[in-house]
Subunit: 114 residues, 2 copies
Amino acid sequence: MINLAAGQCTACRGDEPALPDAEIEDLLFHVIGWQVLDVDGVKRLKRVFEFKNFMDAMAFTNKIAALAEEQEHHPLIISEWGRVCVQWWTHKIKGLHRNDFIMAAKTEEIFSSL
Amino acid sequence: MINLAAGQCTACRGDEPALPDAEIEDLLFHVIGWQVLDVDGVKRLKRVFEFKNFMDAMAFTNKIAALAEEQEHHPLIISEWGRVCVQWWTHKIKGLHRNDFIMAAKTEEIFSSL
């Protein structure tokens, strides 16, 4: 297993290509529980996390938001009672970058630490 | 205009029917900018709010979360860079209750106060 969670986001210039499917398949192996979602042809990494109430879901949402600001890479977060869905992708390249896998692994690490 | 924002959520027993379409049409007039969204046959009230960055979007998200806890009625909130989508509906009745319009009006009031 690569320790993706130990990585840091690198600035994505926007002229890099999105990861090819074969590389996505390989990296998915290192972020167990995450799925690839296709929204209008743009691939995203997605995982749903469950909580016992609304405020626990919001506390997790805020931890992910703080991580996002620190790494200067921002997800889409769907928060509701007992449930948070986190989605990572790279707008600039309209797809997945290695950064997104690093962020998924860091998200996972935060969830495990709760 | 009815001052829906001044209302309080009332406990929804679950044996009340969801609001009929005619009543929804009338109430929509009092929450300008909100739309009815149909998700798997369940109507929701939805509005997208725009912000100048991620943390402003998160600050608004947290204000709505605090309102939700206070009123014991919880929305779905989609937070991302510069954008928050708030959706209100009543799970128990699989549709819209007057409470949802009250919460939409209170959401609007919070946005206007920023």
